[in-house]
Symmetry: C2
Subunit: 309 residues, 2 copies
């Protein structure tokens, strides 16, 4: 049995998996209120201990612990270096986990873990060259070349959301102009939906947003489209075009066996994928939605021991 | 001793190299007038025979023949499938070369061979993750990950020149809009120089172009800049900005150890590299000019046997 831990800005989830990456036990704890590295470490370590105790699993049965973290990671030393939304200051998680549970431990980037999870136990299993595109607040990337995660210098590879596609476009949080995620992330879509709906408050889309306290979410647009709102369709088509341009950049650079779309919006399934495939057109690269949903990161972390780096 | 062959739209060059990739003998033949696959095959095979004869090298001494081709390649079967500027229709070059010279033979894409040459015997030797950017009529790419060339499905990886950076920009020959090569290739720069100079015929740049039959070439702009022509500097700065945007895309995606700039314009050396490095800013990826010049493809072809694929 192995442990996978997926650390995020609001929660940390951890699970015990068997050799086939079936989740045998799972737990989740809040991280949003953490103010110090010590608090955060306690939540991760004590939470994982509690997971084992609550499920009557002795730590002798654990053969490996893997952990996915946001932000900057030193994979070699197993240290979480820094992150935007968590009080991380060089936390040696691998050492802490290894000493606590008496098994080897590894750390990697959260986007990499999600990509690795889908590769080891999900939709891209069996494919050697895969790029996972995670749509959310930004656009994250996990790149698998020849069956291995591409880390790059200082683990900085995979920042596909900061690929500029619109040199005269909007300023991105990273400081550059026209990054893919400024137009094609889920957040960019929601902002655009809210912005456009102000011009047409009596449209179906406008009313849905008004009924939700002037806010849209990842589903609003799809609901309006299902009710044949033409403005919603038009906004969606523009967004798909932005998504497609970056997808083709990934295809032209890697021509991977598969691009996996993950992140919350991928739950829309064919409502999202069919128009996207249509926009991309004829191409030998498969385009699929992730199969592990929110568990991809946890499962990928538990599978980090299966990568030769 | 090994043979390397670099097939291009106007000439084919072939060389015999020793174990350290020093060129012992070299020859070049015209391919521009070839009209049939048979003519082209003869020039390659007979030219290589002649190279050995002229230099008194018996074919028994040859242990490997490698060849770089433009266009579509089947690396597995060693077949040149098709190309834009040459009469290639599924020519089984690897088989032909192997039978003629009694040694194993391999084929790969010309941009890949140039990248592999710099990696095996040039500026990027010893670095495991390297992207070679070839500036010319278009922008070609050769991507080395973990010491191996990235081929992608159907050998279509590495088309970095067709990475869209300006979604509202100019139509590219590939049919897409705003590809990197529409603004950052040497051809794009020359076209821009000719276009802008029309507005200022009395500038130093305008006069240089007028004296050259209304045409610019890769050197015109650098000459005008060396003579402190401000318009030339302004055009160059805009071009460097376009180049830098794509460079950062490559960095954000791969964060390679090194980006190698090759192609004719790389002969400008620090006149090109210093402003480019300045535009890129602080970054752990090294930016260097290729060291093998026009021989990179030939040497890389001769070294194809050293890649485990």
């Amino acid at each position: 049995m192995k442990i996978g831990i997926d650390l995020g800005g609001t929660t940390v989830s951890m699970g015990v998996v068997d050799d086939n990456y079936k989740i045998l036990a799972e737990a989740e704890f809040k991280t949003a209120d953490c103010r110090t590295p010590e608090q955060l470490s306690s939540i991760v370590i004590d939470g994982t201990k509690k997971l084992l105790e609550d499920n009557g699993i002795s730590k002798e049965k654990i053969t490996f612990i893997g952990m996915g973290c946001p932000g900057e990671i030193d994979t070699e030393k197993g240290i979480a270096v820094a992150a935007d939304n968590l009080p991380i200051e060089k936390i040696p998680f691998a050492k802490m986990l290894s000493e606590t549970f008496g098994a080897p431990a590894k750390l990697d980037n959260d986007a990499n873990c999600a990509a690795w999870g889908e590769h080891m136990a999900g939709v891209s299993k069996g494919y050697k060259n895969v790029v996972t595109v995670t749509l959310g607040t930004g656009i994250g990337g996990g790149i698998i070349v020849d069956g291995k995660l591409l880390h790059g210098k200082e683990n900085h590879a995979g920042e596909i959301g900061h690929m500029v596609i619109d040199i005269h476009g909007k300023r991105c949080g990273c400081g550059r102009i026209g990054c893919w995620e400024t137009v094609a992330s889920t957040r960019a879509l929601i902002k655009e939906v809210e912005h456009q709906a102000r011009y047409a408050p009596n449209s179906r889309l406008g009313k849905l947003i008004a009924a939700n306290g002037s806010h849209a979410n990842g589903k609003t647009l799809f609901i309006a489209m299902s009710e044949e709102d033409n403005m919603a369709r038009s906004i969606f088509n523009d967004w798909i075009r932005s998504l497609e341009v970056g997808m083709w950049n990934v295809i032209n650079i890697f021509r991977p066996d598969m691009i996996v779309i993950s992140g919350g919006i991928s739950k829309e399934g064919e409502n999202l994928l069919a128009p996207l495939r249509h926009a991309v057109g004829k191409c030998s690269t498969l385009i699929r939605a992730g199969r592990l949903g929110g568990n991809a990161g946890l499962i990928g972390a538990a599978a980090l021991d299966e990568m030769n780096i």
